[in-house]
Symmetry: C2
Subunit: 497 residues, 2 copies
């Protein structure tokens, strides 16, 4: 019985439908929602889209934890009701509108948004809409498949709308909710191991600010993961080989936790552990936990997995829901300011693996802007992990678009992560540890080892020309630095005809 999920009785009077609940959301509302690739509200966004389709003219500012797929970002972008959206998103329609300037977007490090909200830098938190599996006897919230910024949004939201999901109630106990203090008088975040629980298993809620409660049977959209292809497998293999070597040389401890970004390559790295005997009792201190984490737990290889969301394929979800009690012993979901905390990442010595759009010969990284201008998704947590990891890996297939684009370029067209923060660059062709190389040595190695054979000569020519014509610590021929991108824009291929 859904009503039993509201165990705090005074709140049962707040049950209503989406139409009336959403009435408090009007033109100019700042809307703060749960959701971090999973765990976003569904009914209110649908209702807002419906109102727009029915002809109502209004614009809201939408703040989430991270991406919320087409179920929220897609339909709201399409409905044309968004003035602002922050932070990270990955929806196709929203992306197009952001790139046209129709939706305002500012790309924040995920670790820092909650703090900005608490400081009031994003304006008043007019309405918070959150998905939960239940409201406890004391009136607290149990979130669903993600935590993200929800604890702060619930604390700051003037009005709160709760969508009670029909996901298994056993999710209770999965989350660890801790809102850090704000400067100047604050204490350390007391996490010393990936598994440490430092907070409460629920989000504290002021019942007086609850505007409405809805019951929802809507599900998160399932991401589709592909079996690791040859490219991802090669990237994963090289990373594991490298770390194994560093451990044997006693330059890395064998018990450092791992972070692996979003997408197929990231999934493949963790999948690589499946067939590897060297690594045992793995700890994961990451952001988004994907299918591969469950696989590793099943074979007893994971000691602990910490993240801010659990984003599972349809199949993995069913497995997870059948045995939550078992996975719950290994998995902990935290607010993103904790999963991505620079302090904790650095303390634990995380091995951080993130995917780039393109990398240049000196190791500068573009994670966000295709051809320097068009936003792909956003920086997400990549900066949080890259800048603070014990070793930071940047991975990318050496080409995109069936080989017509080289992901290794003379100069990236946008920089999200500078060479100072990038340690190791990996493509399917090879791996370069830049930590003890000069920029010129890095260039030589990245061209030789990481670039795709089709592009090696062209990159080498550029580098030699820069050395001769300009020199300097990082030789570049500024007027030609983007010649490969220009060729692609003109001919649709970075290779000459």
């Amino acid at each position: 019985m859904p009503i039993e999920r509201i165990r705090y009785l005074p709140l049962r009077g707040k049950i209503t439908d989406a139409v009336s609940a959403a009435q408090c959301i009007q033109d100019g509302t700042n809307l703060f929602i749960s959701g971090f690739t999973a765990g976003y509200p569904k009914l209110i966004p649908q209702e807002l889209a419906r109102r727009a389709r029915a002809g109502e003219r209004f614009k809201i500012n939408l703040f989430a934890g991270a991406s919320t797929e087409d179920t929220v970002d897609g339909i709201l972008a399409e409905a044309g009701v968004l003035a602002w959206r922050r932070p990270y998103m990955s929806d196709r329609i929203m992306r197009e509108k952001i790139n046209r300037g129709d939706i305002y977007f500012k790309d924040d490090h995920l670790s820092s948004l909650s703090e900005q909200v608490r400081a009031g830098n994003l304006g008043t938190a007019d309405v918070a809409v959150v998905e939960a599996v239940c409201i406890t006897e004391k009136g607290h919230l149990i979130p669903t498949m993600s935590v993200g910024n929800t604890p702060t949004y619930v604390r700051e939201g003037r009005r709160i709308i709760i969508e009670i999901s029909d996901l298994p109630i056993e999710l209770q106990g999965l989350h660890d909710i801790f809102i850090p203090e704000d400067p100047p008088y604050r204490m350390p975040i007391p996490i010393y191991r990936a598994a440490d629980r430092i907070g409460k298993p629920f989000i504290e809620l002021d019942p007086n600010r609850v505007e409405a409660i809805l019951f929802s049977r809507e599900q998160d959209r399932y991401p589709i993961f592909h079996e690791p292809d040859e490219v991802s497998r090669r990237i994963a293999e090289q990373i594991l080989d490298f770390v194994r070597h560093e451990i044997r040389k006693d330059r890395l401890s064998p018990t450092l936790p791992w972070q692996s970004g979003v997408g197929d390559v990231a999934n493949a790295v963790l999948a690589g552990f499946l067939e590897d005997d060297f690594f045992q009792e793995i700890e994961i201190y990451s952001e988004v936990l994907q299918d591969s984490v469950l696989d590793l737990i099943d074979i007893g290889k994971v000691r602990a997995a910490s993240g801010s969301s659990l984003t599972l394929s349809d199949k993995a979800r069913r497995r997870f829901f059948n045995e939550i009690y078992r996975y719950r012993e290994k998995i902990v979901l935290r607010p993103v300011e904790i999963s991505n905390s620079p302090e904790v990442i650095r303390r634990l010595g995380v091995l951080a693996i993130n995917t780039a759009i393109e990398v240049d010969i000196y190791g500068q990284v573009n994670s966000t802007h295709v051809m320097g201008t068009h936003l792909m998704n956003g920086i997400g947590g990549s900066g949080d992990f890259l800048r603070n990891g014990a070793v930071s890996f940047i991975v990318t297939p050496s080409t995109a678009k069936e080989g017509r684009i080289s992901a290794i370029v003379p100069m990236v067209t946008h920089v999200d992560h500078s060479e100072h923060s990038v340690d190791v660059v990996v493509t399917e062709n090879g791996l370069v540890d830049t930590r003890s190389l000069t920029p010129r040595q890095t260039a030589e190695q990245i061209i030789r080892r990481c670039a795709h054979p089709d592009y090696r000569d062209m990159l080498w020519d550029y580098f030699q020309r820069a050395l001769k014509e300009r020199g300097g610590h990082e030789p570049h021929v500024l007027e030609d630095a983007f010649f490969m991108h220009r060729r692609f824009m003109e001919t649709g291929d970075m290779r000459p005809r």
Copy 2:
């Protein structure tokens, strides 16, 4: 009597001269020295330069805390004995050789080098040479005007050479030495206020590894500070106005500590407090403490000042040495991995002010490479502070080279700090808080407010053209993004004739 400065008697037998002490430094030696704009050894570098001039052929790899001026970097670079140099440096001759590729240089975040050394990533620490004011009864070292990476170099160094300086012995008690643990099993760095002392007032030393002790009367080179000019004063004024406003609006706490980078502008910001009544009981959590800090202490405005070195003009030094006991109550010098610790900077909520070479219309920052190719000094601690400050300011005069170069450009030629980590951009013309702006809005504001009037139209034209011809979240015309730099390289002026 200098010999009394070696209070640990067994070590008195190690007193020798530079010629014999330096014999353990041979071709291929990894040499780790104290020094962080101040507090570097002088005799050994001079002896090495002498050997080179006398015709001996050898190359060493030199690692310091940060820059060591011409007294070390300059003479060793000139002598041609350096294979490698890490991290930050600021000497003219060394810079030239690095840019020619004659000296290998890798630009590390200052906070991370000690940890790399302990992990063994930089090779064995063959010889450590450190400046100290004395050796205590227990055989520990009291450093001089900086701490930098010295504690780790002394711990890791296989052979240690100590240069006993004749600076006042009262420096004892100024330093706070704490080497953090290394991952994965480490605890927080327990600093909760800028003034907190968490370590010992000396550097622990294994007397068995002491190779030689020298007495030195050589002094650090005095930096020359200029009285704040109109440009620096305007920059400082705007920052103080902005912070005052944010405090009044309750978006910032009035007690956040300040960091201010190196150089005249940085000095001017702190000088700005002298004539300001709003800010009282200031805390400084910075890297290099300069003259302005003493001035502020003298008028009772500073509650605490923490840094890794004290770099004072001739005049200020004399004042400091006369009353060390008084300044010592306010000032603490720490290892750079603590002064620049991302964990601590974030916890305290530091207001971070750093100088750029150039900034682009979207807020991307170049701190290191002139025209994208030629290294100026290095990233230093700017990334440590910028990436973790509660508010990160990037400051620069709007032009360089008598107006022939605009420091506001369409696209920076090298990126050290990405827009995601830069909050506020300030020139003498104006200030832009980018935290709630889209990239396009940021561009409009930076052009309008920060750029020099001579360059505004040219930047605006570029931005409009990029908007029209390319669009996207950050419009750029890649083939023209460096048109101003190219014009400068061709004509010596970014302005058209």
